[in-house]
Structure formats: structure tokens, C-alpha cells
């Protein structure tokens, strides 16, 4: 399975900017109220229906969600923490607007192409091999048609090993769910902890991936979590074998 299959399954968007544009343009939705958690939960349901968790795909999905989180956080957070240049609200809105409009333009172009293709439905071209009398090999006619220097030039090009390309954060996941799962498990072996502790010093993508790993632990029955109030501390406690003593010692949170 790939994330593109998921896109098909949800049938609402084919990219974060589309999703965002759709949500923002919907009169009743304020950008700040876009429930990214719902998207994540929808994805988890999708995975549950399939019966297994493909960590590679989960990571890919997270990249998508992380892009949304970044856009949203630009509007929510007063301060950037990971060295990205801070944008004024006006600038942030302009940048977002420009990217959304660009995505929108190609979405419409895509629809135009899909219509063209549908209109061509029913036109078939002939795909028959040439008759034998046209296939006769004429070895004598062969004259040099290509310049060998293009082969040397191609090899030269392939020897080039460039500096790594800056693809922005969303092209390559820097952290995997598997890594964050083992990080959380290691922490939980020592008893209850908090989400802030689990992501101390981490960048935003890592935070998002850690949250996803936590959802997975919860689903697997390995941990439970609670939060007393919005934006309050998220307590995380181990569940299952060997967890009872620790859970008692730390109190298991009152918010459940």
C-alpha cells in the first residue's frame, strides 16, 4: 500500500495544499480549527481496517501530515524554534496564499487533462507490427548516425556526486516511526513519562512522528496517556506486563 492509495481512499484531496484550500474555502471552517487529528485518526482507522501497520507507509503519511502541521503552526505559534525564519502574520498568509493558489492552478489543469483524456475515449490507434516486406534488414544501409562524444559526456555526468539537495523538510522523512517507537519504549521501561520529556529538544517533524508513535503504542495497548486540560501536560504511562508497579507509583492521570 502507498499513500497514494490512501488518497484515493479518502477521495477528498490529492495534496496537503488542496486539503488546506478546501478546508479554508469552506465557509464554516477556520484555519485554526482544522482538525488534523481527525485526519490522523481517519488514517489509523484505515490502517486498522487493513489489519497491519506498514511502518514505511506510516512514515510517508507522516511527512504529509507534518507539512500540514508546519503550515498550521506558522499561524499558531508566535515563535519559531528550529531556525526557520520567522514570518510576520502578513507574510505567512501571503506565502501560504501563493502556494495554495499555485496548487489550485495545477489541480484545475489536471481536471482539464482528465477531461481531454475522457474525450479521447473511443479513439483507438492501430498497433500492428510492420508488414514483413518493411522489416527486411538492410545492413548495408547503416551509416554512422550518432556522435560517440555523447556517451563520454553521459559518463561524465554520471560521475558527478552533488551536494545533497535541499528538498525542504517534506521530501525526506528524517525520522521514522520505528525509531520513535523504540525511543518511547525505552523511556516507558523506566515508568511513566510526559510527552514533553519524550520530545525535548526535538524538531517539529520529530514531534509529529513521536505523537504518531504514541498513538500506535496506545492502539497496541502498550501505553496510555492523559491530558487534564487543552495545552496541558500530556502524561504517558506504560500498560501491560510489568507496568502495574510503575503506573501506581506515578499515578495514572486523572483525565481518562
Amino acid at each position: 500500500m502507498t499513500v497514494s492509495e490512501l488518497e484515493l481512499d479518502l477521495e477528498v484531496f490529492s495534496g496537503p495544499f488542496d486539503l488546506l484550500l478546501t478546508l479554508v474555502l469552506r465557509e464554516e471552517v477556520d484555519l485554526l480549527e482544522v482538525e488534523l487529528a481527525d485526519v490522523v485518526v481517519g488514517y489509523l482507522d484505515f490502517l486498522a481496517a487493513r489489519g497491519d501497520l506498514d511502518l514505511e507507509v506510516a512514515t510517508e503519511f507522516l511527512v504529509l501530515i507534518a507539512a500540514l502541521l508546519e503550515l498550521k503552526s506558522r499561524l499558531m505559534l508566535p515563535r519559531e524554534e528550529d531556525g526557520l525564519p520567522e514570518l510576520e502574520p502578513g507574510e505567512a498568509a501571503e506565502e501560504l496564499l501563493a502556494r495554495m493558489l499555485e496548487a489550485r492552478r495545477y489541480r484545475h489543469a489536471a481536471q482539464h487533462l482528465a477531461r481531454l483524456l475522457a474525450g479521447e475515449d473511443g479513439h483507438r490507434f492501430r498497433a500492428a507490427p510492420l508488414p514483413r516486406w518493411l522489416r527486411r534488414a538492410t545492413a548495408g544501409d547503416v551509416v554512422a548516425a550518432y556522435d560517440p562524444t555523447q556517451l563520454g559526456a553521459a559518463i561524465g555526468g554520471l560521475l558527478r556526486a552533488p551536494a545533497p539537495l535541499d528538498l525542504r523538510h517534506l521530501a525526506t522523512p528524517r525520522v521514522t516511526v520505528a525509531e520513535r517507537l523504540s525511543h518511547l519504549r525505552a523511556l516507558l521501561r523506566h515508568g511513566a513519562t510526559s510527552f514533553d520529556d519524550a520530545v525535548r529538544g526535538a524538531d517539529r517533524v520529530t514531534v509529529a512522528v513521536t505523537l504518531f508513535a504514541l498513538l500506535e503504542l496506545y492502539k497496541q495497548g502498550e501505553a496510555t496517556w492523559s491530558q487534564d486540560e487543552p495545552f496541558g501536560e500530556i502524561r504517558v504511562a506504560p500498560l501491560g506486563r510489568g507496568a502495574a508497579a510503575n503506573a501506581t507509583a506515578h499515578g495514572n492521570g486523572g483525565g481518562r
Binding site: E7, E102, R107, H112
Partner: protein, 202 residues
């Protein structure tokens, strides 16, 4: 068309279009038929008339910079029964978007497509490559593979050339819509000044 048939040159061109697996340009037709461009143009006119929609089971199409023969859509149900081959499957939204970006911005690299869509285009571009709608067009200065569309793309989408693609600006929102969108984004941005500091887990 006249009932008495085609001129000798038009007959030759008809045979060439029947045999050639790809659309053939007017120049190549002239060269192969050993004829003057003006005469070729006139003979193509004869064929155009002979294959006027509704006259025959075939149509003369002008795609990908050349001429080619194709079946008329009325024959599609019968063709499907005879050949038992599915017609060209439609594109998924992700594939159509990726194809649109490549068509308009070619040559364009995969990271650039990802930037515009906001989500990876890897599997979509792999499918487009496999279906022969796009191909590699060298590498960017950073070594990323660049993509462009193929003649098959023009052929399957019924386009004479890339110039037949409409100006994408026509799909941009009206100034009012854009102003409205900007307004909403700004409002969301201003709101945050009064917001408490959200934790990283928002």
C-alpha cells in the same frame, strides 16, 4: 468526398498513415511520397474530407505534430469485444496533477513537483513513466532527474502540440475570491497574537 475515390497522392498518404505506428508530419509525408508540400497539403485535404466525422469508421486526427488514423468512437463497444483489451485507464487525481505540472513546467524535477503539490509525487510519476506519458529529460544542476511529456501524451490526449494546452491562468481565482482568501488567512494569522503559546504537540 467524390464517389470515384482519392487522387494517387492521397492514396499513398492514406497507406503511409495506415502503416506508420506514430503520427507522421507533413514534411515526412512529403519526403516519403516524393511530393511537393503544396500537393501534400491538398492531398491531406482530400483525406480530411474522406474521413469527415460520420463518413467512415476511421477519423483523420492531427496529434503530436503529425497526422494519424484512429477509430471513430462509435466503434468502441465492438472494438472492446473484439480485442478484449481495456481502453486507456483514467488517471488518478494524483497522477493527473503530476502530469499537469510536468506538462506546463517541463522540464521539471521531482522535488519541484513535490514542492508544488505539497506531497510526494513519487508513485504518481513512476506510473506516468511506466505508461509512457512522461519521460526523463536530463538532470538538473543538482543531479535530480528532470521530466517532460512524450509524443504519446500528445497522441492520447488529442493534442497537436504543447501549445494547444490552455493558459493555466484561466483557472486562477477572481480578484474577489483571492482577496477573500487572503483576508481569511490574515485573520487567522492575526488571531494568533492573542493565543497562548501552543505546545509543540498541537
Amino acid at each position: 468526398m467524390s464517389g470515384s475515390g482519392l487522387s494517387p497522392l492521397a492514396r499513398t498518404l492514406e497507406a503511409l498513415l495506415f502503416l506508420s505506428p506514430e503520427p507522421v508530419s507533413a514534411e515526412d509525408l512529403a519526403q516519403a511520397a516524393d511530393a511537393w508540400p503544396d500537393d501534400v497539403e491538398q492531398a491531406v485535404g482530400e483525406l480530411r474530407e474522406a474521413y469527415a466525422p460520420g463518413a467512415r469508421g476511421l477519423l483523420l486526427r492531427e496529434v503530436a505534430g503529425g497526422y494519424t488514423l484512429a477509430t471513430a468512437p462509435e466503434a468502441e463497444p465492438a472494438a472492446r469485444r473484439l480485442l478484449a483489451k481495456p481502453r486507456t485507464p483514467p488517471l488518478t487525481p494524483a497522477q493527473a496533477e503530476t502530469l499537469a505540472i510536468i506538462a506546463y513546467l517541463q522540464p521539471v524535477s521531482r522535488p519541484e513537483i513535490t514542492r508544488i503539490r505539497g506531497v510526494s509525487a513519487d508513485s504518481a510519476s513512476a506510473t506516468l513513466l511506466e505508461r509512457g506519458l512522461v519521460e526523463e529529460a536530463g538532470r538538473s544542476q543538482f543531479g535530480a532527474v528532470l521530466y517532460r511529456t512524450t509524443p504519446l501524451f500528445l497522441k492520447l490526449f488529442g493534442l497537436g502540440s504543447l501549445d494547444d494546452l490552455p493558459d493555466p491562468g484561466q483557472w486562477d481565482p477572481t480578484p474577489e475570491e483571492e482577496a477573500d482568501l487572503r483576508e481569511r488567512l490574515l485573520r487567522a494569522g492575526e488571531q494568533r497574537a492573542g493565543e497562548p503559546v501552543a505546545p509543540a504537540s498541537s
